[in-house]
């Protein structure tokens, strides 16, 4: 039973942060695309801005790994 909770918790850590990242990038992406239509020279900055919210899901992954390691231990 405990294993189920461990797996569920680690999955939730990734899933919730993934949803949050998707929501954030869904807002940033169209704004960035509109900016690029007027100023193509901002392409590099635009890619970085879209990539910034990925921090959430990456840290969610790290938390998931830590939960799994703790649970396995």
């Amino acid at each position: 039973m405990e294993l189920i909770w461990i797996v569920f918790a680690s999955a939730a850590a990734v899933a919730i942060t993934g949803l949050a990242t998707a929501w954030a990038q869904g807002r940033i992406g169209p704004a960035v695309a509109a900016s690029l239509a007027e100023k193509p020279e901002l392409a590099t900055t635009a890619i970085i801005l879209v990539a910034i919210p990925e921090t959430m899901v990456i840290l969610g992954f790290v938390v998931a790994v830590m939960i799994l390691l703790r649970g396995a231990g």
Partner: protein, 628 residues
């Protein structure tokens, strides 16, 4: 690194101003700035006649228009730009522009006519057998209608309506054309022609008229003339193209030389506007790389005599906010200037981050990819790109960065014992450091420690930059932030017994003492910045996350071989997975390594706002000079 600049003043007799400017353009080192007015030189900037500048711009406009209109590509000018006498060249290029405009108009008109006549020809080809046979009625009249694709209902309607108005004295034939349209031929006896025309008019079906200029109103009789005209158009188009090719062959080198010459003259005109001149004397102010001042002085003395004076003017160079910025890095680091240049130039006197990017960017990339197989693939692709696009400086830089990243990927692949994931284990590879599959916690600790080093390095650069700019308090504050990060790390390591536990108390006490000093130095915002620094350090955990994700995908790819029924199918799927993983492994580590530099690293010390170094030099075809 940012090249140290010297503020320079060149002065001499007004009569030698043109010669001096031409020599400065030839040398190509001096970034001109507007000279401040002084008592020694009375008032006015030199400048050239606005009329002359307008004339040059008109000539340039003609030259650019002609070069765009000519077929072929630019010739590679390896010898020094030859000078072309300007007035006759300007007249000649203006005449060429008129001629090429006329040729273009003729070509467009011929092409349009050809398209239209070809449409008619398709029409006739569809009905040729019908038109060749003897007409059913001696006074037969043909009406041609073109219907759009999918208008089959109109044809059916016509088939029903025509006999109603013309009885048996009318025939309707419909053929689909290659373009998808429907060609309709209505043959009617002379006595029924009027009714047929009326019906077509009522149905709003426009009869296709004979093309203008063929001397025939009836399309049927115009066919021979149409075919002759098509042949004539072909010949005229060939002649048109041949004339353009002849013009290109005869005049392109001269036009390119003229283009460069006019650009150079416009650059000189811009430069003259920044020179102050009096009746006897001129003064030019500018910036140039410090080591180049002595050679400039020597060359001016040698070629123009001792009347021209070159003096170094200035105070502490690093505090001059108005000095232009030029980057100069060793050959090994130079490709990474592409990453630095994505940001605005650093302010003069601040730090050029290129050398640090050149070390840490491929390192982070290699840590995330961390596979010998993928590293070798990347090295192969980078080498191919470098060879294929060796003429392009940007592609060469990208390829060389790729080679650096591949090298680190291979090195870390050896340390982790990975060759296309766990395939290396099957081939006898053993991790020299730790295997990423089973050592997630140590890998995470390693990446966070690496992040701490990187962020602390950024703060050290901030201290150096602030000290150099004279902001001592800020420098001490940044230094204290470094100390607090180090003390926090010591306290944590002592708490987890990685270091002796007795270090915990002194570290904690030192933190408590340093904290109010930091707030006193930099204000309450320092607390926010300190927390932000810790957040930045934790952000480096993404290296572990992406590296582990890449490894897991590779492991899944390898397990495909035995998972499916057939070994061949399994191998194909495995290759596909590895390919996808490799593609992700190129894109994702690049984006995140860039992000770690742009946000976490640059955010600590980078001061944008530098003015670009644009010396007065000869125009080059790939440059974007101020005169354009």
């Amino acid at each position: 690194m940012i090249i140290r600049m010297a503020r320079v003043r060149v002065a001499g007799p007004s009569a030698q101003l043109d010669a001096v400017l031409r020599l400065l353009q030839e040398i190509g080192d001096l970034h001109l700035i507007a000279s401040a007015p002084s008592q020694a030189v009375t008032a006015r900037p030199a400048g050239v006649s606005p009329r002359w500048v307008r004339h040059l711009r008109r000539v340039l406009d003609d030259v650019d228009a002609v070069l765009v209109a000519l077929p072929g590509t630019a010739t590679r000018e390896t010898s020094p730009v030859r000078r072309v006498p300007l007035p006759p060249a300007a007249r000649r290029v203006h005449r060429l522009r008129r001629e090429l405009t006329s040729l273009a108009r003729t070509r467009a008109a011929l092409a349009e006519e050809q398209t239209l006549l070809t449409q008619y020809r398709a029409f006739f080809d569809a009905f040729e057998p019908l038109l060749q046979r003897a007409p059913r009625w001696p006074d037969a009249r043909a009406s041609f209608v073109l219907l759009r694709a999918g208008a089959g209902a109109s044809v059916t309607e016509l088939e029903r309506s025509l006999p109603a108005v013309a009885g048996s004295k009318v025939e309707l034939h419909a053929r689909p054309l290659p373009s998808g349209e429907i060609a309709v031929l209505v043959l009617a006896a002379g006595s029924a022609a009027a009714q047929v025309e009326a019906l077509l008019s009522t149905a709003q079906l426009e009869e296709l008229p004979a093309p203008r200029g063929l001397g025939e109103t009836n399309l049927l009789r115009a066919m021979p003339a149409l075919q002759a005209r098509l042949a004539q158009i072909d010949a005229q188009l060939v002649a048109n193209e041949a004339r353009r090719a002849d013009i290109a062959a005869e005049t392109r080198p001269e036009l390119e030389a003229l283009q460069a010459q006019v650009h150079d003259q416009l650059l000189l005109a811009d430069a003259q506007a920044q020179v102050r001149t009096g009746e006897l004397l001129f003064v030019i102010d500018g910036w140039m790389p410090d080591p180049a001042v002595a050679p400039l002085r020597a060359r001016i003395a040698r070629e123009l005599g001792s009347d021209i004076v070159v003096a170094k003017v200035g105070t502490e160079p690093w505090t001059r906010a108005d000095a232009p910025v030029a980057l100069a890095n060793p050959r090994l680091f130079r490709p990474f200037e592409l990453i630095t240049r994505a940001f605005p130039l650093p302010r003069y006197g601040s730090i050029d981050p290129t050398p640090f990017v050149a070390v840490f960017f491929p390192m982070f990339f290699g840590l995330m990819l961390g596979d010998v197989g993928y590293g070798l693939l990347l090295a192969g692709i980078a080498a191919a790109v470098r060879w294929r696009w060796r003429a392009s400086a940007t592609m060469r830089a990208v390829a060389e960065m790729g080679l650096g990243c591949a090298l680190f990927a291979i090195v870390f692949g050896v340390l982790f014992g990975e060759f296309f994931g766990t395939l290396g284990t099957a081939l006898g590879m053993r991790p020299l450091a730790f295997g990423r599959e089973n050592a997630l916690a140590p890998f995470l600790m390693f990446t966070i420690a690496l992040g701490a080093v990187h962020v602390v390095l950024g703060l050290v650069l901030a201290v150096i930059g602030a000290w150099r700019q004279g902001h001592r308090r800020q420098a001490v504050g940044r230094g204290l932030t470094i100390a607090m990060i180090v003390l926090s790390a010591l306290a944590l390591l002592a708490a987890f017994k990685v270091l002796p536990a007795r270090l915990f108390t002194p570290a904690a006490i030192a933190l408590l003492i340093a904290f109010p000093i930091l707030v006193a130095l930099e204000g309450i915002i320092a607390v926010v910045e300190l927390m932000s620094a810790f957040g930045h350090i934790l952000s480096y955990a993404r290296i572990m996350a992406l590296g582990t994700a890449s490894l897991m995908l590779a492991i899944i790819a390898n397990r495909m071989v035995g998972a499916l029924g057939s070994v061949l199918v399994g191998v194909l799927f495995a290759l596909l997975f590895h390919l996808v993983n490799f593609a992700i492994g190129l894109f994702s580590p690049t984006i995140h390594a860039l992000r770690l530099h742009y946000v976490e690293f640059f955010g600590e010390f980078y001061s944008p706002g530098g003015a670009a170094y644009r010396p007065l030099t000869h125009w080059r075809a790939t440059s974007r000079s101020a005169s354009t």
